[in-house]
């Protein structure tokens, strides 16, 4: 396509430049019933999974229908969301903190036509465009990251495993059968963009090989002290290396100290470590962010490695499904997965979920590792 100017003048880049205007104010986009009753809500009830209403002091009600979103979506899809918003909700719509989409209407008779319309829309491949669900004691959307779509440090993909996992957990997206809500998150490297460190079940991209060293370019492309300081286990030291008959500044990696975090590559493009066979997935479990009953918890590593199996990641989804089923059958009402595992003991968690316990799961990182070992005789055989 030929170049079409927006009016920006590259010869005078600071001319007519608008900056520091921030986001639009949220209340510009309130549906009228939300604007009117803001701060005066009395209570709320579920009608069915994905559908609930709030009642205000004025007696006004607002009915919300929550639908799944793939998070990564085209403008065509967003236009379709807008079209639905125009048709049923006077042009209003919102996205949730887990990237679901919520349509709101102000009277009960508008809900059924909205739900029917949403559930009738499918992609050519057969998948639902707007599946209703994601509320209450079920499994809502998976918070996830860039993967092989856009990032340069991933050890696995994001959109692919998320689609595979949500397909397996789809019934729980549309149900409230679990003891408490169950949050699943994914991050494609241990930068952990998102919520993997604090989710009931977490999928995490993991490397198993140390970085390669591109001595030819390392000193030119990298600030060597930054690469050295990037290493959590101090595996990197500066070194002079012979390259092409010349002495060049570079680094040396002590491979027995490297645990493949990839932090050095983040700081230094000449230390790549992604590897088809080496890379895969770690599963973590038992995290939460709410303060309900128990304090917030970190998730813990429960499966040290599952290979990347694009495009459906069958071993990963099977492992997650198993954990969900055991938790669903065994935990008490209101008990989050982490509370359940701590109550029955992690040794029982591994037994019940039929997960092998390997030495990889035992913390060995600095002094705090000691506090994760068992300093009591209390355990179950």
């Amino acid at each position: 396509m030929a170049f079409v100017s927006s009016g920006y003048n590259p010869d005078k880049p600071m001319e007519n430049r608008i900056s520091d205007i921030g986001p639009k104010k949220y209340d510009e986009f309130y549906p009228p019933v939300i604007a009117k009753n803001k701060g005066t809500w009395l209570y709320h009830e579920y009608i069915q999974p994905g559908v609930y209403y709030h009642v205000a002091e004025s007696g006004d009600k607002v009915f919300t229908v929550r639908v799944g979103g793939a998070r990564l979506m085209s403008t065509t899809h967003i236009r379709e969301i807008c079209e639905i918003g125009e048709k049923h909700c006077d042009g209003y719509v919102r996205f949730t903190t887990r990237n679901n989409i919520e349509f709101m209407v102000d009277s009960e008779d508008k809900i059924r036509p909205l739900i029917e319309d949403l559930e009738s829309r499918k992609f050519a491949g057969g998948s639902f465009k707007f599946p209703v669900g994601g509320t209450g004691a079920g499994i809502t959307n998976i918070v996830h990251t860039q993967g092989w779509i856009h990032c340069h440090t991933p050890a696995t993909d994001a959109s692919g495993p998320v689609k595979a996992t949500m397909d397996v957990l789809f019934d729980d997206f549309k149900d409230h059968r679990l003891p408490a809500h169950l949050r699943v998150s994914l991050a494609c490297c241990l930068n952990m963009c998102g919520a993997v460190h604090c989710s009931d079940i977490a999928i995490l991209g993991y490397h198993r090989k140390p970085p390669l060293l591109d001595h030819e370019y390392l000193d030119k492309m990298c600030e060597i002290p930054l690469a050295i300081a990037a290493c959590p286990t101090a595996a990197i030291k500066p070194s002079k290396v012979e390259f092409d008959g010349q002495k060049v500044n570079s680094v040396a990696v002590k491979e027995s100290r490297c645990m493949f975090c990839g932090n050095c590559y983040t700081m230094c493009p000449s230390m790549p470590l992604a590897d088809t066979e080496g890379d895969g997935i770690v599963i973590m479990a038992g995290g939460k962010v709410s303060n309900r009953i128990s304090a917030p918890k970190f998730s813990k590593v429960v499966v040290a490695f599952i290979p990347n199996e694009a495009p459906r990641w069958p071993k990963t989804t099977e492992t997650i499904k198993k954990m969900v089923e055991v938790y669903a059958n065994d935990a008490n009402k209101y008990e989050r997965l982490g509370e359940w595992a701590e109550r029955i003991g992690w040794e029982r968690f591994f037994e019940k979920c039929e997960l092998p316990f390997t030495h990889h799961l035992i913390d060995d990182f600095r002094d705090p590792a000691y506090f994760t070992w068992r300093q009591t005789t209390q355990f179950k055989f």
Binding site: P10, P13, M221, L226
Partner: protein, 105 residues
């Protein structure tokens, strides 16, 4: 690697226009980046920022933190942006011939 011809010199650059090696930096490079960054006139203050960046990089092997750059030059961040509209990283470090900033930028 793409290259640019400017004032009789050839520079190898990456896709973001950073020079391939600190050692290939020269005054012609400064003039090239000035044009690319849309800076009208190079003054003593621009030169001071470049000198501080190059001096710090030679001594420490890294670019200074923004607070250090401000403290040593005496220029507040706002003023550094007035000098280099793309900022201390994309603008000033590029002009000074430092490696491209890395990390979650």
């Amino acid at each position: 690697m793409p290259s640019v011809e400017f004032m009789g010199k050839t520079f190898n650059v990456d896709e973001d226009g950073f020079i391939d090696s600190y050692d290939n930096w020269c005054q012609e490079w400064v003039q090239w980046v000035k044009k690319e960054e849309g800076i009208d006139e190079l003054n003593d203050e621009h030169q001071k920022v470049i000198d501080v960046l190059r001096d710090y990089y030679e001594k420490n092997g890294i670019a200074p933190m923004v607070r250090v750059l401000s403290k040593v030059t005496g220029f507040k961040l706002k003023h550094i942006y007035e000098l280099f509209p793309s900022g201390p990283g994309k603008g000033a470090c590029k002009m000074a011939g430092l490696p491209k900033p890395t990390g979650c930028v």
